[in-house]
Symmetry: C2
Subunit: 444 residues, 2 copies
Amino acid sequence: MPAGSLSFKSRESLQALFCPQSVAVIGASTAPEKLGYQIFKNILDAGFPGTVHPINPKATEILGRRCYPSIDAIPDQVDLATIIIPAPFVADTIRQCGKRGVKGAIVISGGFSETGPEGEVLQNQLVEAARESNVAVIGPNCQGVNNPHHPLCASWPLLTRRGGVAIVSQSGTVGAALMDWASQEELGVSTFVSLGNRADVDEADLIHYFAQDPHTRTIAIYMEGVKAAPKFLQAVRQCRKPLVILKAGRTPKGRKAAESHTRSLAGRDEVYEGVFRQLGIHRADDLEELYDFSKALAYLPRPKGRRLLIVTSSGGSGILATDMAENTGLDVAPLPEEMARKLRAVLPKHCIVANPLDLTGDANAEMYRQVVEAAGPHFDIVGLIFGDPIPGASAVVGTDPLQLVIYLGGAEVERHERLLFHRKGIPVFPTPERGIRALSELLR
Amino acid sequence: MPAGSLSFKSRESLQALFCPQSVAVIGASTAPEKLGYQIFKNILDAGFPGTVHPINPKATEILGRRCYPSIDAIPDQVDLATIIIPAPFVADTIRQCGKRGVKGAIVISGGFSETGPEGEVLQNQLVEAARESNVAVIGPNCQGVNNPHHPLCASWPLLTRRGGVAIVSQSGTVGAALMDWASQEELGVSTFVSLGNRADVDEADLIHYFAQDPHTRTIAIYMEGVKAAPKFLQAVRQCRKPLVILKAGRTPKGRKAAESHTRSLAGRDEVYEGVFRQLGIHRADDLEELYDFSKALAYLPRPKGRRLLIVTSSGGSGILATDMAENTGLDVAPLPEEMARKLRAVLPKHCIVANPLDLTGDANAEMYRQVVEAAGPHFDIVGLIFGDPIPGASAVVGTDPLQLVIYLGGAEVERHERLLFHRKGIPVFPTPERGIRALSELLR
């Protein structure tokens, strides 16, 4: 892991990036196929609460807003500049922004260090301009920032659902995919930040910032390499929220690709493995794990222990869950005789009162409720698998003991119930294996 | 693995189960919350092409169809009986069916061996009745049969999309989840069979049957244990289509749960591992792999070799794909100089012409087409990762060389394009890891 500066970006400068009162879109465009149009439109459509100014010397009006030729021409204070202009003009523009009191800039434009030596020169000029002008810069070569809590959607696609996971990504697409999944499931995100080339603001600054952000419960990070090891280590050690990291570039060829993608020093995987374990970072092995672990850690409390009761309407799903629980160190403990007796008295005769407890295909929501009630004193976690269309499932799930919800095979009823669960802040997992695997991270 | 009879069910008797000309629903109900109503309705709604008779002594008409008191009262020939009546009446009903020339029965009803010794007696009576009456029985305790190619939806939920994967499942829910995913993606299935307790027809009969079924390209099986080893081995050895199996009950507690679910002898996992490997069976480790592997094997040809070019609009996704390719034995080979030169001449300057080949975020469909054309002689497979909203992607993908499609981070454009791909019979995978992992099975 490379060394580098130890100081974090100030809270004030990052606030300007994520919660500005006014925004200028430098390079706003009248052409709908251009990012300069889409980002400007997304900021408006997401309902940004302050003023938004388009800047483009060739236009007088964009989407009904008066267009200015440059940042100098705007009469009032601007906190944030979103920049989508050719790379050679970016450094000077940042200097102009600094003079006008702009505190933060999001540089969407590519054409910097990711393209080779010429671009590297432009990126160095950008860094110099940012430092001298005291402007905090996200990017360049990035997909922007989306903070639905503000709301500020200086990014694409247009997504506005508010949630508890901050997404920090060296890959725009990986971040956008996570955000899109969370949006489809109506879980939302706290903030999405596409880091791009990390010329200025890096993952350590953001861990430091989101550790204090009231909307963020968990931080999900996609990275190809740490930018500055001492700063990263310090940020992680100070952070009291769960951190989940997907580190790409683990194989020799993957590492080489990472180095040409964002000039990251991907480093040897064993080093990352050791550091992550030592720091209590949750390491995701793939994109879906990054999503699942963050979802579990953001929306579920830590269980009091490892005793897991699996309750299911689907015998097969119960077995798949049991296998995964066994492989991840959860304790699928036998039912105490007293509890089993109590349940046999209330459940239909054909239910298999064991662990997993199989309510069979004609299970209804009330039967799940009865099992959870009986499990209370004997288990730390109840894993509820709804394996059929079971209406009303979302109405019976509570928080004591901890309840993990898996729903599959229920088609339209399942899709409807999943949204009801998510609106209540209870995460739902799509397969027994993904649910139990994510659960096991709560006990790491 | 247990022994058992070696003879397969006749093609004629299984045809009666999957492609009958006339169906009787014994236990059809007038109450919409009952399975006896839902299955009868699904058979009608899916557009069953022959005659459908409801049987219920307490009703005169169900959903506008004349209701008969018993199978004896139906004037014309019946090929298939779908049975949803209490377990104690099932054996006698099967005898009646046999007398009327019914060739197949799907027994949805539970209350047999899965409930204990009394149910075991009923199940033995059912088996005896089936043998003596020459009726082939699916179930009992199952979720039925859905053959969208006929169409016959003697199951639930109502799904009608036709595709190339046969699903054979000891768990109704696992099968329904796979079928629902395939339906949501507009890929469909060739036939879904829920095996239930496998009192009569078992997985070996179905491998034997689907090996010859013209609509089936790949067979996806969820099992907790093989019913009769010699018959299973023979069916697999004779089958020329890819078989993908998810075997649950791999851990000691999972095995115990499997044994109480469907009385399967789950057996030691090492035995299954060895047998599967020897027979060339594709072993899925979880439910999503069962889905992904089947999808890849059904809709993609076997590549000519292992040389894989990864083309992406998302640098990060390209790295994740490279890591997975390296871990699964694919060859992410360097670009021949001639090919690199040709591509540098036509692609924008900022593209990274290497392997992975990063077209960057402003990639369009035409750029992908140019890369595929240039790759022709040098690579066996091109992995196309669309990591942004890229309209028209589905129009540029062909079959030579083999093209694997991964699409993520494209939100609404992605969802639309995925359906266009699937209507063309080209499978799309949702993450780099899942796509490349599934691809690697084509070379096993």
